[in-house]
Symmetry: C2
Subunit: 352 residues, 2 copies
């Protein structure tokens, strides 16, 4: 009790103190003691000692023995983004409520890094892995499969494991429609005035781009096929795309479909240092929701992916996976300009 840097108590310490065997102590402290027919009074003694000495289970030892760790992994592309960070927040809540410990790591959209990260987590014997927005989901799948680790894709689908993703086509259709409708009938948007920025060759971008084209054609009658400026998931590349466009055309389009909030940051970089008036007539649709983004000085229509529903579905699937890999679509929601929605933080208790 009183030594300065006392070592942590183990079941062996408690075994000596209580006069029981280590296995009895273990059973009592991990709750399996009734099954092992340990006397109530013995259990109470041990529990009392455990509290007195502040015993806590060494989870590495347990993990080694059980070859599970109680850790559940979430692999994100990046942390620094409201979509992914709210994913992390929601995930944590779910994992905690199941009595496990969340581990959130990012892998930078780098296939190599993704696999290495998965392997590291596997080395810690994590119990499950949620793979969000992976650039190479199937590569990660191989790694998990080889280790017999349950895993699931979120946000970007893989061919070899179950996937829960946003209904990108429907979302992009809604968004494109909403952008077009934002313009009145007296001065309607022309097909060559609406451009899409961002995206790369991943499933989500392809779906969104495809819905963008289809909806443009349906509502505006035409769709000049230079309407898409791929710029990956990088603010700076997106900035350069805007600069190039501006250089070429002498102005921005009247309306923009922006593929993600990360690309939207590219637009911000373009705006910085340029007069605000330049953007006063702009209409933007952004596939992602960010509360601050919703209040920019021009109409920003956003799409909020239903993170809570995605995570919930993912847990269902990982618990009892159907046979063949499937893709589950979760409907996203169209968010009108100037909306400040509640988020995962609102479930925490408010303290003033």
């Amino acid at each position: 009790m009183d030594q300065q840097v006392k070592k942590k108590a183990t079941i062996y310490d408690l075994s000596v103190l209580s006069g029981s065997s280590p296995s009895t102590v273990s059973a009592v402290l991990n709750g399996t003691w009734r099954k092992r027919r340990i006397k109530e009074s013995t259990a109470q003694t041990i529990i009392g000692l455990a509290e007195l000495h502040q015993y806590t289970t060494n989870l590495q030892a347990r993990g080694l023995r059980r070859s599970r760790s109680g850790l559940v992994g979430l692999m994100l592309p990046v942390h620094d983004n409201r979509y992914f960070s709210s994913m992390a927040q929601t995930f944590e809540g779910h994992v905690r409520s199941r009595g496990q410990c969340p581990v959130v790591v990012s892998a930078s959209r780098d296939p190599e890094e993704e696999r290495r990260t998965a392997e590291t987590l596997i080395s810690y014997s994590i119990d499950q892995l949620f793979i969000v927005g992976a650039t190479d989901p199937d590569g990660v799948h191989e790694v998990c499969e080889a280790a017999g680790l349950r895993h699931i894709n979120i946000d970007l689908p893989g061919a070899k494991a179950h996937s829960v993703i946003s209904d990108n086509y429907a979302g992009a259709r809604m968004l494109t429609e909403a952008i077009i409708r934002q313009f009145g009938n007296d001065d309607p948007l022309r097909p060559d005035e609406l451009f899409l920025f961002g995206g790369r060759n991943d499933h989500a971008s392809r779906e969104r781009i495809s819905a963008f084209h289809a909806t443009k054609k349906a509502l505006l009658g035409a769709d000049p096929d230079d309407g898409v400026q791929s710029s990956g998931y990088s603010p700076d590349i997106t900035l350069r795309a805007f600069e190039a466009f501006y250089q070429r055309e002498g102005k921005l389009p009247r309306a923009l479909f922006i593929n993600s909030s990360i690309n939207m940051e590219g637009l911000l970089r373009f705006m910085a240092g340029r007069p605000a008036e330049m953007f006063s007539e702009l209409v933007v649709g952004c596939y992602d929701y960010d509360p601050f983004g919703s209040f920019l000085p021009f109409p920003v229509i956003m799409v909020r992916q239903n993170v809570e529903a995605m995570i919930t579905k993912a847990f269902e699937l990982i618990d009892e996976p159907p046979r063949a890999p499937q893709i589950f679509l979760i409907a996203p929601e169209l968010i009108q300009p100037r909306s400040a929605l509640k988020g995962p933080l609102d479930t925490l208790k408010d303290v003033a």
Copy 2:
């Protein structure tokens, strides 16, 4: 190689395959083999076999034996916020570059939860713990201390461990000054037109509020002491504070000092559904930086805390802690309206 759900290879498997003892295999694979005078050729054989069979070290076993895990913990209040998520992003980079594995978890600003979380992490034998914005840093300290775990406070200081925090006083002074200067000389701000919203009774809020008062007094000559509306770190409480103010006064103040981006979300909630014109004359200073927040339809001056510097300093301190607990101040930076700064994501390689 070919079984479907093959178990992972262990040093014992490689020991049999290579004809060496497990300890030799272990030494070869963890890099200590030269020290143990293992022949080069033996080492190569084993390394070859390890690659062939995709051996990876069981880190729980290693952790158990070494009583360290290679895990480094970061405990955040919440994920879903650009300040904290960029903290996570930066932290990850540092930890990875040291060959360890980052574990990021949140504890909801709940003292109880903070201690429990620390204990869980300790049970996994994490090597170090970075405690960010804890409501009860000293409570967490007790837990770490008892386990002999190196730890450090960031963002909010504790009395018992080293702390690296933003220079809140200087930051708030800069911010208050900048807000006041935003108004021209022809229609200068009056002391009763500048209010602070947000904050609670923590070190950061106290410093900021104190600098706010002092600067108001210095620049505006007076400081009616009802100028502060505490509303914790909750968007909804902040919303209610704005509503109450508006109800009472029939208008918002001309200028606002907002204590954090979370409180700023309370302002967004207030704005939602109200006409944009209501806010066209508003000037806001926000202690926190969010790129989207910087481009709202009124001037928003922000303070960016230097996350990179804070994390760097924290690593220095945790590596060789000075004797007595100290508080290290890191200067934040004033960010003019309409600025889109680079962040931790920009260090990732861009892919289009």
